[in-house]
């Protein structure tokens, strides 16, 4: 796909999709002849689609869908995956200057400290890969042979909102499309009654940065992530107003379609046919979204697999189950945010109490999701990503309880399915886990690799704005991390 102005992208699609799905009401043939009477050439008789219609990939794809489990705040890799005896040994000692010279950190003026903090967790090696996982993630430890654990992820920004933007859009600047938007822009969606890019949230608050994290930036809002909410309507304005019954709603949609069709014939404006499609899809969503959210049909065994005790309660576990249901329905990109992983120490987010709580909430369901996708044959087609916007420092923070500062030089993420290698630890960090000593993986590399698996060339997936071809992986060089691929 060549760079196009976003409006062109839309208009072009609309043109090709003229008369799409107008098979109801005035039939498409009748419409075509009406248009012909007006002297407007009938549109190509090709099958008609909407702007999210599946598109051709740049090359054959290994994966079709993505589920991104985003631990918002920055999980501590040093208490979860990175076993560093040296850190424990030198607990309380200052980190050698050679590590930190010239580096900048968050909270430079207040609580940032330079003394090493050893982990209090117990680490063991697991699976055939021998990956180290701490006692906080027993369930994840059970799937290490399904995942590629990347210990050398590297990002560029160390404050939450900018770093989250970076992880999602490849840039710390506002206004760039998020990964989910890029992917739905590049591939469309295989679901015609739900949005192509869906966001689910758990935790006590929204992720820092808010809606820009799933925004479509310079791409049309067609590609923006749609938050599925657990309270009230799953999608804003999904339900029919209280005093309106189902028959009336269908009558409304039919009447609007009929009148819009008349206007389409009068004006010949293709946008009206897109509008007609949009109303049909909206109407279908009114049924399909509640159906999606209703997990009543799931077996007890499945609920147990995810560790769901009360299927009505908003939890990360329920969101994982929903993620599977979304992917089953052909939704292209699903992103789960779980908040409050910002363990600086202190009364609300510390390593002693809160990190274990966070882990308990996400460990079991994350692993279950991978297992469930696998047993249903969906894992081959689905990339599961686990991680946050950055990691945490080997140095501790002095607050009333322990914590760690934001760290961008090396942090851990894992990927499963979608052609990623199963059962390996990728990358090697130094004795403190401060930086990579081998195989660093920059966020842009990660993005390039994920797009690659989806059949998209990150250098060709571009959109024109301000005279430049914007892309997810930015202007500097990004490479596909071959070592991560099966």
């Amino acid at each position: 796909m060549n760079a196009m102005h976003p409006d062109h992208a839309l208009r072009d699609l609309t043109r090709r999709h003229f008369f799409s799905r107008c098979s109801m009401g005035v039939g498409s043939i009748a419409l075509a002849s009406l248009m012909a009477e007006r002297g407007l050439a009938a549109a190509p008789a090709a099958k008609i689609r909407n702007p999210l219609e599946p598109k051709r990939t740049h090359f054959p794809a290994k994966a079709k869908n993505v589920i991104f489990l985003f631990m918002a705040g920055g999980p501590s890799q040093l208490d979860l995956f990175e076993h560093k005896p040296k850190l424990t040994e030198l607990n309380g000692q200052p980190i050698p200057d050679s590590y930190t010279a010239g580096k900048r950190f968050a909270f430079m003026d207040t609580s940032h400290r330079s003394n090493l903090l050893g982990s209090r967790r117990t680490f063991k090696q697991h699976g055939k890969s021998g990956a180290w996982v701490s006692d906080l993630l027993p369930w994840t430890a059970g799937i290490v042979d399904e995942i590629s654990l990347v210990t050398t992820c590297k990002t560029e920004l160390f404050n939450h909102a900018p770093a989250k933007l970076f992880m999602n859009t490849g840039s710390g600047q506002f206004g760039r499309p998020s990964m989910g938007s890029w992917v739905t822009y590049g591939l469309g969606s295989e679901c015609d009654d739900l949005p192509g890019f869906v966001v689910l949230q758990s935790g006590p608050r929204g992720p820092r940065g808010g809606a820009v994290l799933w925004g479509s930036g310079i791409l049309p809002t067609t590609y923006q992530g749609v938050p599925l909410r657990n309270q009230g309507d799953p999608i804003l304005n999904l339900s029919t107003p209280k005093s309106i019954n189902e028959v009336q709603q269908r009558q409304l949609v039919d009447a609007v379609r009929e009148l819009n069709l008349k206007r389409l014939v009068e004006t010949g404006d293709d946008e009206i046919s897109t509008r007609i499609n949009a109303y049909e899809m909206a109407y279908r969503m009114q049924t399909s979204a509640p159906e999606l959210m209703d997990t009543g049909g799931e077996s007890q065994a499945t609920l147990d697999l995810y560790g769901i005790k009360d299927a009505k309660e908003t939890t990360f576990a329920r969101n994982c189950l929903l993620a599977r249901r979304l992917v089953e329905r052909g939704v292209r990109f699903v992103q789960l945010y779980d908040t409050n992983w910002d363990h600086h120490g202190g009364p609300t987010e510390n390593l002693e109490k809160h990190l274990p709580e966070n882990c308990r909430a996400i460990d079991h369901p994350s692993a279950a999701l991978v297992r469930d996708l696998k047993q249903r044959g969906l894992l081959d087609d689905t990339i599961v990503i686990w991680g946050g916007e950055f990691g945490r420092t080997p140095m501790g923070e002095v607050r009333e309880s322990t914590g760690r500062n934001h760290h961008i030089d090396a942090f851990t993420m894992w990927l499963a399915g979608g052609g990623f290698k199963a059962g390996q630890v990728y990358g090697q960090t130094d004795e403190f886990g401060f930086g990579a000593v081998e195989n660093p993986v920059h966020v842009h590399d990660l993005h390039a690799t994920i797009l690659h698996q989806l059949g998209l060339d990150h250098e060709r997936l571009t959109v024109k704005s301000q005279g430049l071809d914007f892309r997810l992986t930015g202007v500097s060089h990004a490479s596909i991390v071959k070592g991560l691929l099966a």
Partner: protein, 834 residues
């Protein structure tokens, strides 16, 4: 670039036409550098062989003739007149994968036609031209138009300069798709447009129906649909004198205070205006005085030069007035990061980056922001020049200005304030142990890091602390998130509103300028050479604008502002007329409205663009100003909307579908979905609920539950009462991180960066909003009452400004009145300007 294709290829050709201005479709025999060659070189070669020294490969630059014709190691890229001796040609033609240019890995590819163009260009002497937009605009005499009876007067007048002779088919009622009419030339715009159409053997469309016309021009000039009574009056007047009635209508609309609201939003998009600080905390801010300033200045038709100067440097004007200081809020619309643990300087620098980029985009139509990290890859702007611009904007203090405003609803806000105070007191009481626990946990180490204010409070015995002290302490300790924060932020906001008057964010020059340096790769931790304020060498000189002022002292923001509106500036007038034009036709004459540089698309009608730019700079008499003023936006609007090009029908035509499906040549008008705010305004107007109150603090119309919980900090959204619930969309409070859904879903900009052109998406979520949103449902219930009282036909007219046809009425009659009202508010036509 594109040659005439045989018929079977027509589909392919159409697709290409859609992506490129049709103006480029037919090359003339002589290759013209700017039109034919530069776009090819810029797109495919300049990234490695262009202005950026650091990225330049093989020491070859193709953006200058010197560079292209220089011989290095016995090899010459371009030998004028001798394509076969030119390495450039050899390299683009070779089949050797290692040698071919552009290299495969660049993802770029030259078509056979492009290669041929380059070959012929070299054959014809390889002439270079300066990029068109860096040359001053020239006023060209509008071309003669065959079929028009009167010669075209090169100045716009208030009366039609020419009227086509012969039978003009008046478009009556239902026949939207009528036969193309005989050219009508109301003013030079039409002459330029028709001349180009005639080249393609196309004719403009007939005038739009009267009801379409009044609806179109009302929505375009004031952002509101006409009332049925206004439509009737116009139709009656037009029966006597169609043109006179239309001109009177245009004058009435331009004099309406709602003109400033409609076009104010156009400017606020570019000013990245919103009501919160952005980033993750996204606390509310007060800067609506700036919004009202914009509306007022546009209503008064302040010349665009003065409009510019006051916003960029109003504080530096001699004896600056309060209003001129408020205007400087333009560049305070940057985000402020209040996240913990940040380096403040980093985000201050980021906001200056934003100001430089925004100034470049908004006024120069140049992507100067690209030179933040390196020399510009395509345009002649060096990195050092970028930082010289940066230096102008690096010396500010960022204070707030107190302004007392009569329009604040003191009693309503006081009641809310008291209510919140009571809630806060109760909350503090209830959560006293949390605070105690937090205090007990304060180690000496932590105590040292506390602010002096907090330390002071901690020292006060618990029992003796005031409410305010407890509140501050709680906010500093455990109350950083959650319900306390929500209440407390609103409390502080109200406190400011009620007790300190209104404040607004402004610019103020520091007594001692900050030192400005180049930042290596745009990284503020890597300062390099120091620079002084200055403007890019490719444009007109700065000093000319400094007049009698002491040229020894460094130039200031005021000099920058004056430099921007200098008559010598080749860009600003073009950029602004283009951005106004785009509002009327859905696309600018330069399609890349924010990039007039080398990577931008060339204008579809270059002479028209220049003519308009020069016209814009001429003093014109306006009803608002005793003496003629230059840069009158109202005169520009009047000029455009009184052209036939603007007034013609938007209905598509069979011949245009084949020849110009993208409507680049403007043989018809363009149907455009209304902007987000106006979707709301039009529905409010149709349902009779609209409040026409002007200005004042932002309002909080109903939004769906749970929306405000999306950001890091939950915010209260105290739904406005009374008529404030039904104000125009421009007055809705906008949190950057949590924008109001019904505006966001219709592509309202997010205020994170300057928006010079809105996208118009068309999505199922828009359908859900219009069908089900409680706000729109409320409008529908009001429209239902109108149906019950005045009948379906009236309701239909309120939504579409036209009478329904029998078959349309029949569809609606099958519905109950409420559903009929909902259907009317959901019609594509209701929220489209035709």
């Amino acid at each position: 670039m594109k040659r005439t294709s045989p018929l079977p290829l027509i589909v392919l050709l159409l697709a290409q036409l859609a992506a490129r201005p049709a103006a480029q479709a037919a090359p003339s025999a002589t290759v013209e550098f700017n039109r034919d060659v530069r776009p090819i070189l810029s797109e495919n070669c300049f990234a490695c062989h262009g202005p950026d020294k650091a990225a330049r490969k093989a020491d070859l630059r193709l953006d200058t003739r010197e560079g292209a014709t220089a011989t290095t190691d016995g090899v010459t890229a371009v030998v004028p007149g001798k394509p076969d001796a030119s390495e450039l040609i050899a390299r683009i033609l070779t089949t050797d994968a290692d040698d071919v240019m552009p290299p495969k890995k660049s993802g770029k590819h030259l078509t056979a036609a492009q290669k041929e163009t380059l070959r012929r260009w070299i054959e014809q002497g390889a002439d270079y031209q300066r990029h068109w937009s860096f040359e001053p605009p020239k006023r060209v005499t509008p071309p003669p138009v065959s079929g028009a009876t009167h010669p075209v007067v090169p100045r716009s007048g208030d009366t039609p300069v020419a009227e086509a002779k012969g039978k003009v088919s008046e478009n009556k009622g239902d026949k939207s798709v009528a036969a193309p009419g005989v050219p009508r030339i109301f003013n030079p715009i039409d002459a330029f447009i028709v001349a180009k159409l005639q080249e393609s053997k196309l004719k403009p469309s007939p005038p739009a129906d009267l009801h379409t016309l009044i609806r179109r021009v009302s929505l375009d000039l004031i952002g509101l649909p006409p009332t049925p009574a206004e439509v009737d009056a116009f139709v009656q007047a037009a029966a006597k004198d169609a043109d006179g009635a239309y001109r009177a209508l245009v004058d009435r609309l331009l004099a309406s205070p709602h003109y400033g609201e409609r076009w104010g939003r156009w400017w606020l998009d570019q000013a990245r205006y919103a009501d919160s600080n952005g980033y993750s905390i996204d606390a509310p801010r007060q800067i609506w005085k700036f919004r009202d300033w914009v509306i007022g200045a546009l209503n008064a038709d302040m010349g665009f030069d003065q409009f510019t100067i006051e916003q960029l440097a109003g504080d530096l004007l001699p004896n600056a007035t309060e209003s001129q200081k408020i205007a400087t809020g333009f560049h305070r619309n940057t985000q402020i990061n209040q996240e913990g643990g940040i380096d403040k300087e980093q985000f201050r620098v980021d906001s200056v980056f934003d100001r430089v980029a925004t100034t470049g985009t908004v006024w120069l139509g140049l992507t100067v922001g690209c030179a933040q990290c390196h020399d510009h890859k395509f345009d002649p702007i060096e990195q050092k020049e970028y930082y010289r611009l940066f230096a102008f904007l690096n010396n500010q203090d960022e204070p707030t200005l107190k302004v007392f405003d009569r329009r604040v609803d003191v009693s309503g806000l006081t009641a809310e304030f008291q209510d919140i105070e009571a809630k806060l007191k109760a909350y503090l009481k209830e959560h006293a142990d949390e605070l105690a626990k937090w205090e007990a946990g304060l180690t000496p180490e932590i105590k040292k890091s506390l602010s002096p204010a907090i330390t002071k409070i901690v020292a006060v015995p618990k029992a003796k602390r005031t409410f305010a002290q407890n509140q501050t302490l709680f906010a500093a300790g455990v109350g950083g998130v959650g319900p306390f924060r929500e209440l407390n932020d609103r409390y502080k906001e109200l406190d400011t509103l009620l007790n300190n008057g209104v404040t607004t964010m402004v610019m103020k020059e520091l007594p001692m300028p900050r030192k400005t340096t180049v930042f290596i790769k745009g990284d503020f931790t890597r300062p390099a050479d120091e620079v002084t304020p200055g403007t890019p060498a490719v444009l007109h000189p700065l000093n000319a604008e400094r007049g009698t002022r002491n040229t020894e002292s460094p130039p200031t923001r005021l000099d920058l502002a004056r430099w921007i509106v200098s008559p010598q500036n080749p860009l600003t007038a073009r950029v602004i007329v283009n951005r106004v034009w785009q509002h009327y036709f859905g696309r600018g004459l330069v399609e890349t409205e924010n990039d007039f540089g080398l990577q931008g698309t060339p204008p579809s009608h270059p002479e028209l663009l220049d003519w308009l730019a020069v016209e814009f700079q001429q003093p014109t008499a306006t009803p608002h100003s005793p003496s003629p003023i230059p840069y009158s936006l109202k005169s520009l609007h009047r000029l455009i909307v009184t052209s036939h090009t603007y007034r013609q029908s938007s209905a598509d035509r069979a011949d245009l579908r084949a020849k110009d499906p993208g409507n680049y040549l403007l043989a018809r008008q363009q149907r455009l979905r209304l902007d987000a705010e106006i979707v709301r305004d039009a529905a409010l107007a149709a349902s009779g609920l609209l409040s026409l109150k002007l200005g004042g603090p932002p309002v909080y119309p109903p939004i769906p539950d749970g929306v405000m919980g999306q950001g890091q900090v939950k915010r209260t959204w105290a739904v406005s009462k009374g008529e404030d619930k039904f104000r125009r969309g421009i007055y809705t409070f906008v949190y950057r991180a949590t924008p109001p859904p019904s505006l966001n879903v219709f592509d309202a900009p997010d205020g994170f960066s300057s928006c010079t052109r809105r996208i118009r998406s068309n999505t199922p979520l828009q359908a859900l909003t219009l069908m089900n949103d409680s706000g729109f449902f409320e409008f529908a219930t009001a429209l239902e009452k109108i149906i019950q009282q005045d009948g379906l036909e009236t309701a239909f007219r309120r939504c579409t400004s036209r009478a329904p046809k029998a078959d349309e009425l029949a569809v609606l009659k099958k519905l109950d009145p409420l559903n009929a009202a909902r259907a009317l508010l959901n019609l594509d036509e209701t929220f489209t300007r035709e």
